[in-house]
């Protein structure tokens, strides 16, 4: 009702979390982490830091997945589409820099980690909730 002009930032925040979520190799993380993936993700987003967005993402992913894996460039299949996550990440980061909202986005995501993760979980739906 009371409008704010943060809808663009909000969309970018969801996009960022979606990328972080997709980069994490959920199949390979321990079962207890997988079972509680949304809580773990929210906590890591709240607790992680970084000089810039890239470092922040890196820290979140490493925080969840440990040393198993982080920011692996690979192609993953989603339906019939082949996703190039590395490329998507690069494009996302480029977009953020162009818009000059990197710091603002970081603050926004960290301070609203729980609601954003809840929304992401709702968007991704049942299939991925099970840990893919």
């Amino acid at each position: 009702m009371v409008s704010d002009d943060r809808s663009e930032l909000d969309e970018l925040a969801i996009e960022l979390l979606r990328l972080i979520h997709d980069v994490i190799p959920w199949r390979e993380v321990p079962e207890d982490v997988k079972r509680d993936k949304w809580r773990v993700l929210a906590k890591r987003v709240m607790a992680s830091s970084g000089e810039d967005l890239q470092e922040f993402m890196h820290n979140v992913v490493r925080g969840v997945a440990g040393d198993i894996f982080y920011v692996k460039r690979r192609a993953s299949s989603e339906g019939n589409e082949i996703r190039l996550l590395g490329k998507e990440l690069e494009e996302f980061l480029k977009k953020i820099r162009e818009k000059n909202v990197e710091k603002e986005l970081l603050v926004y995501v960290k301070s609203r980690a729980i609601p954003l993760v809840i929304r992401l979980s709702a968007k991704l739906g049942e299939k991925e909730e099970e840990g893919e």
């Binding site: 301070s111 609203r112 729980i114 993760v117 929304r119 979980s121």
Partner: protein, 586 residues
């Protein structure tokens, strides 16, 4: 969004800033003052029955008028009388039908529609609304005339409150009074043939209201002129059941149950030479009599009511003390202290008031090993021996009982309005034709006595969206409820969307609120939640173990209401469950 009802009135002054007043509740207040006989009572209850048509007309002088004394029938304006005379249900009531019709028809001084011209000058409804002026409680927090002179009885005036315990005890007494006064109002209304009032609002095309009366239940069906909310249905039930509640109706729509005193009893802040003061006030039932020519206040009714209220206050204090098993029975001393009194040679540790009661404070006394909030002790002894005054003592022990492990106790307080807009269809209809609209939300909404009470119910409703009542509680008081976090299966679309959005529809007004409450588990289960109220209260709506539910967090969640679209209830409940789990809500 929580659809609560429709606005009851507007005001021309102050640029049309809206008032948080619900139509049925406005009519109920007027009816209560007129509850000296059936004819007056039902006239009061139905006097604004045409308002849901929302026929606002701009006069030549540029002022908006809300037409509700006439309606359009086959392209011709006809008086409200034509409709009232044909209501079958009215005939079942024990009333003087002609008088009833004319009192309503002539309650505003508009000669054109009034047959009995003497009623233009001496109309009981107009008397109550304007001469007595009770409706000023809808338009301001500080009426220019004393509350005692506008049809209210000031049950208790608490002066010079200087400690959270004072406010806590006062609030507990307020809720106790509401509980018992509800029974008193019920007795009076039953004698007039009304056991239950059911009001239903159907949004869509306007048509004249339908009225039924069966076995003491009066049912009014209003058809509200609104395209934007077409299909919406809101049902109010007012009865002797003192339990404000809301639910999704099986047949569609939203239902609320109210006690009579949810509308008729208020706690309002007041500034006096004593500093912070509060008044608990209530509508005097049957105060105004009408002898066929003139309206007058019946002072004997006032006196009788005053005596009954006084007894009720002592009953409430008795209930409070007996629920705690207090060895010291303070009784009327509590009232004296609330009114600003103090006496004795001891000084209260918390508020510095003088007291003649010696309360043991040692480690085996009030300040046992569990007490750690020494930094919150602010009393000044000034040479006197330290003790605790009756108000702080009662508050302290109540707080101890409530903060024990288990369900949360909740005392809803009036929420704040943080935003207001006007429904699109309403704004569009008037601005396209007249270039302006009858209600202007640019400067928010006006705070008022009735508005405070409505905002308190809204706080209650918000917390009920998150919490569910439980009977397993450490303190048994009929007017206090204990709650647990609502389980997944008890969540529905209504509760979930209101929990997130905090928006309320009082058509055409849509307000956003910041709910407020005293919550026994506010600072964690072991925190002294009353003593630390000033530290704990703020923008946090509910504390979680992992994160707090704040307005900012809920605003960030709000897009989910749109993103979910028409998700199935199963998915909604799953999201709710995730919310509870991720924030660690207990």
């Amino acid at each position: 969004m929580l659809p609560l009802g429709i606005i009851g009135r507007t005001q021309e002054r102050f640029g049309g800033i809206p008032i948080v007043t619900e139509l049925t509740q406005h009519q109920l207040i007027v009816a209560t003052v007129l509850a000296s006989n059936e004819t007056l009572f039902y006239a009061g209850l139905l006097h604004d029955i045409l308002k849901p048509a929302f026929r606002f007309v701009k006069n030549r002088d540029g002022n908006w008028k809300w037409w509700h004394l006439n309606y359009n029938e086959s392209g011709k304006e006809v008086p409200l009388r034509n409709y009232l005379q044909n209501i079958q249900a009215i005939s079942s009531l024990n009333i003087d039908k002609d008088m009833f019709v004319e009192i309503i028809q002539c309650h505003h001084p508009i000669k054109r529609w009034c047959r009995k011209k003497s009623l233009l000058k001496h109309n009981p409804i107009n008397y109550v609304e304007n001469k007595l002026g009770i409706t000023s409680i809808e338009a301001t927090l500080l009426p220019s005339r004393g509350l005692d002179n506008i049809g209210l009885h000031v049950c208790l005036e608490a002066r010079g409150l200087n400690n959270p315990y004072h406010y806590f005890v006062l609030t507990m007494i307020y809720y106790g009074l509401k509980y018992y006064l509800n029974k008193l109002y019920e007795e009076i209304f039953s004698k007039l043939g009304l056991n239950k009032l059911v009001v239903e609002y159907y949004f869509g095309n306007y048509s004249l209201p339908l009225i039924e009366y069966v076995n003491g239940t009066l049912v009014i069906k209003y058809y509200v002129n609104s395209s934007e909310f077409r299909g919406l249905r809101i049902r109010h039930e007012y009865s002797s059941e003192y339990s404000f509640d809301m639910r999704i109706l099986r047949e569609g729509g939203v239902g609320f149950t109210f006690g009579w005193s949810d509308v008729l009893v208020y706690m309002v802040p007041h500034v006096s030479s004593f500093g912070y003061s509060y008044r608990i006030a209530c509508v005097i039932p049957g105060l105004v009599k009408y002898d066929g020519t003139k309206s007058r206040d019946d002072t004997s009714v006032k006196e009788l009511f005053k005596d009954k209220v006084e007894n009720i206050i002592y009953n409430v204090i008795d209930d409070l003390e007996s629920s705690l098993g207090l060895s010291v029975g303070y009784g009327d001393v509590i009232v004296k202290y609330l009114e600003g009194g103090e006496e004795g040679s001891y000084s209260c540790l918390f508020c510095s008031r003088r007291t003649s009661y010696k309360i043991r404070l040692s480690k085996t006394g009030l300040l046992s090993e569990k007490f750690t909030d020494y930094h919150r002790i602010s009393g000044s002894a000034e040479g006197a021996e330290i003790s605790v005054c009756p108000l702080c003592h009662l508050g302290f022990i109540l707080e101890e009982r409530f903060r024990k492990q288990g369900p949360s106790f909740l005392v809803p307080l009036a929420g704040d309005t943080t935003g207001a807009i006007i429904a699109r269809d309403f704004a569009g209809k008037f601005s396209s034709k007249n270039g302006s609209i009858p209600v202007n939300t640019d400067e928010g909404v006006i705070l008022s006595i009735l508005g405070q009470s409505t905002l308190q119910l809204i706080s209650d409703a918000w917390y009920q969206s998150l919490l569910k009542r439980t009977s397993k509680a450490s303190v048994k008081l009929p007017w206090m409820n204990a709650y647990n976090i609502r389980s997944q299966r008890d969540v529905d679309v209504l509760r979930f969307s209101f929990l997130i959005s905090r928006e309320v529809l009082l058509y055409p007004l849509i307000i956003k609120v910041r709910p407020r409450a005293l919550i026994s588990t506010y600072g964690g289960r072991n925190k002294k939640f009353v003593l630390n109220t000033d530290l704990l209260e703020g923008h946090i709506l509910w504390r979680g173990e992992e994160g707090d539910l704040t307005e900012e967090q809920l605003d960030a969640l709000k897009p989910i209401l749109r993103e979910m679209g028409k998700s199935k209830i199963g998915q909604l409940r799953k999201i709710y469950s995730r919310l509870v789990s991720l924030y660690g809500l207990r």
